[in-house]
Amino acid sequence: MLEVRDLVVNYGEAAALRGVDMTVRSGETVSLIGANGAGKSTLVKALMGMQPVTSGSVLLDGEDISRRQASDRPKLGMAIVPEGRRLFKDMSVKDNLRLGLHDAAARRRGADGLDLAYDLFPILRKRSRQLCGTMSGGEQQMVALGRALVSRPRLLILDEPSLGLAPIVVAQVFEVIEAVVAQDVTVLLAEQNMHRALSLSDRGYVLADGSVVLEGTGTELLQSDRVRTAYLGES
C-alpha cells in the first residue's frame, strides 16, 4: 500500500533522512522506532506532505504522492495523529472531531459520523462540549485518535502517541491502538516506546541518524540485541 523509496529530506545543509526505503502492506501494522532525533518525525511529516521532500518518492498504491499538498491526504485515505496531539485547543471536543470530517472524501467514508469516536471513547460523548485545551493528556489523546479515525482512513499514521503521557495513560492509549489494529486499518506507528510498539506490530523498522539500520518482524526485533545498540546510537 505504502512504499517509500530512497527518501531524502534535508533541512538546509543538514540531512534529516538519508535515503530511506520502507514498505507498509495493506492491513499491516508497522512500527517505526528509533531514538529522539533519528528521523521518525521527519519521515512522518514527509509522508503527510507537511515537510518538503528533497529527493526520492512516496508511493501510495503505486502513485507518487510525495509532492502532493498536505490537504490532499484525507482524499487519499490517510490520517494522522500528530506528535503532541496538536488539538484545536480553543474548540470543543465535538468541533475537533468534526474537523476530522472536513474533507468531502472523508465524509463519504466516515458515514457513521462522530458516533465512531463516541463509541470508541464513551467519555468523549459526555464531554463533547468541553474545550480541548482544558482536558488531561489522556483525554486529549482520545480526541486526537477520534479525529483521525472518524474519517475511516485506509492508512493511519500515529506519531509518538505515548509521548508526555503518564504510564497508566500510555497503557490505555495502547489498548485503543490495539483495538484499531484489530480492525482492517493499515497502521504506521512511530514510537520511542519500542517494546509496546513492536509487541503489537507485524513488522518494524529501526531508524538511526536518518537511515534504516534494521528491519524485521516485531518478535525478531524485540529479541535482537542490535536494536538496543542502534537505539543508543552505537551502531
Binding site: M48, S71, P74, L87, F88, R98, L99, H102, D103
Partner: protein
C-alpha cells in the same frame, strides 16, 4: 439535536432581520439629524467590527488593513458618483468588489509563503495602507491630492436626499455582515477558519485548503468593509485621504473585537456598540485627549478583567441556547 440547532439558528437569523427592520422603521420617528447621524455611525462601526472579525477574529491573522478596504469603498463611491450616473446599487457593488479585489491581490501574495504568517502579516497590511494612500493621492480620477466633493454629486438622488436614507443603507449592510458572521460561526467554513487560528499544519492535514480559505475570507471581509465605506462617502460629503484612510479604523475595530470577544459571533457587535456609545458619552467631557485616555483605560481594564471579552464572559446559562449553533451545524 439537529432540531435544536436549527431552532437556535433560526432565532439568530430572526434576531438580525428583526433588529434591522425595527431600526429602519424607526427612522421617521427619530427626528433630529444628530440622532440619525449617530445611528449611521453606529451601524457602520458594527459592520466594520463584524467584517474585521470574520477574517481576523476567526483565522487569527490580525489585519491592520481594514481602514484601507473601507477607504477604497469610499473612494470608489466618490469616483463613481463623480464620473458616472449609475444607480447607487451599482455603486455599492463596485465599492465592495474593488475592496475585495485588492484583498485578493494582497492575499494571494502574502499567504503564498509561510514566512509571512503571524506578526509579519499585520506589518504587510500596514504597508499596504501607505501604498494605497500614495496611489489614491496621485490618481486624478480618484483624488489627485485635493480631496473630492461628493455632496453635490449626490444631490437629487434618493441616497443623497437624507441622512435617514444613508442610515437605511448602513443598517442593511450591517445586517448583511451579521448574517455572514453568523454563517461563519455555524458552518464548516467557519470551523475550518478557526482551525487555521489554532494549528494551520494540522488543519491542512485534515484537508482544509488553508491558502484558498485565507484568501477568500480575507476578500469577503474586505468586500464587506468596502460596502460599509460606500454610504460614508456621501455622509462625509467631502472625501480626503487623511480622513478616510486613518489608522484609527483598524485600531478601533481591533479594540471593539477584543472587547466584545470572539467566542460568539455577536461579540464584535457588542464590542462595537459599547465603544461607539462610550465615545459618544465621553464627548460631553469636552476634551478629546482626555476622552481618548479614558477610552484607553477602560479598554485595558476590560482586557484585564474579561480576557474572553464581553460575549465570552457571560454566564454559560445565558448563552446555552445559542451554544450548539456556535459549535457548527454540519452533521
Amino acid at each position: 439535536m439537529n432540531a435544536r440547532i436549527d431552532r437556535a439558528l433560526a432565532g439568530n437569523v430572526g434576531g438580525i432581520v428583526g433588529c434591522a427592520v425595527l431600526a429602519i422603521a424607526l427612522v421617521p420617528t427619530l427626528g433630529s439629524d444628530y440622532v440619525v447621524a449617530f445611528g449611521f455611525q453606529f451601524v457602520t462601526w458594527i459592520a466594520l467590527a463584524l467584517s474585521w472579525s470574520l477574517f481576523s477574529g476567526n483565522s487569527g491573522y490580525a489585519s491592520f488593513g481594514h481602514g484601507v478596504f473601507f477607504g477604497v469603498g469610499t473612494y470608489a463611491t466618490a469616483a463613481m458618483l463623480r464620473h458616472t450616473d449609475v444607480p447607487f446599487v451599482v455603486v455599492l457593488v463596485v465599492a465592495g468588489v474593488s475592496a475585495a479585489v485588492l484583498a485578493v491581490i494582497v492575499g494571494l501574495a502574502v499567504f503564498s509563503s509561510p514566512r509571512f504568517a503571524g506578526d509579519l502579516f499585520g506589518l504587510i497590511t500596514l504597508a499596504m495602507a501607505f501604498i494605497v494612500i500614495t496611489v489614491v493621492s496621485n490618481l486624478a480620477f480618484l483624488d489627485g491630492g485635493t480631496g473630492v466633493f461628493v455632496r453635490e454629486q449626490a444631490v437629487g438622488s434618493w441616497i443623497g436626499s437624507s441622512t435617514g436614507n444613508l442610515f437605511i443603507v448602513g443598517t442593511l449592510i450591517a445586517a448583511g455582515t451579521a448574517l455572514v458572521a453568523l454563517a461563519a460561526s455555524v458552518s464548516r467554513w467557519g470551523a475550518a477558519l478557526r482551525s487555521i487560528r489554532d494549528d494551520e499544519g494540522v488543519a491542512e492535514s485534515l484537508g482544509v485548503p488553508t491558502y484558498r480559505y485565507k484568501v477568500l475570507t480575507f476578500a469577503v471581509s474586505a468586500g464587506l468593509a468596502g460596502l460599509a465605506g460606500a454610504p460614508q462617502a456621501i455622509f462625509l460629503g467631502y472625501v480626503e485621504v487623511g480622513a478616510v484612510f486613518t489608522l484609527n479604523i483598524p485600531l478601533l475595530v481591533i479594540m471593539m473585537t477584543i472587547l466584545g470577544g470572539i467566542t460568539r459571533w455577536w461579540g464584535p457587535l457588542v464590542g462595537a456598540a459599547s465603544v461607539v456609545v462610550v465615545r459618544e458619552l465621553l464627548l460631553d467631557i469636552g476634551s478629546p485627549e482626555l476622552s481618548q485616555i479614558i477610552l484607553g483605560a477602560v479598554f485595558v481594564l476590560v482586557i484585564a478583567l474579561l480576557p474572553h471579552g464581553i460575549s465570552g464572559s457571560l454566564p454559560r446559562s445565558l448563552t446555552r441556547r445559542k451554544a450548539p449553533a456556535t459549535e457548527g451545524a454540519h452533521r
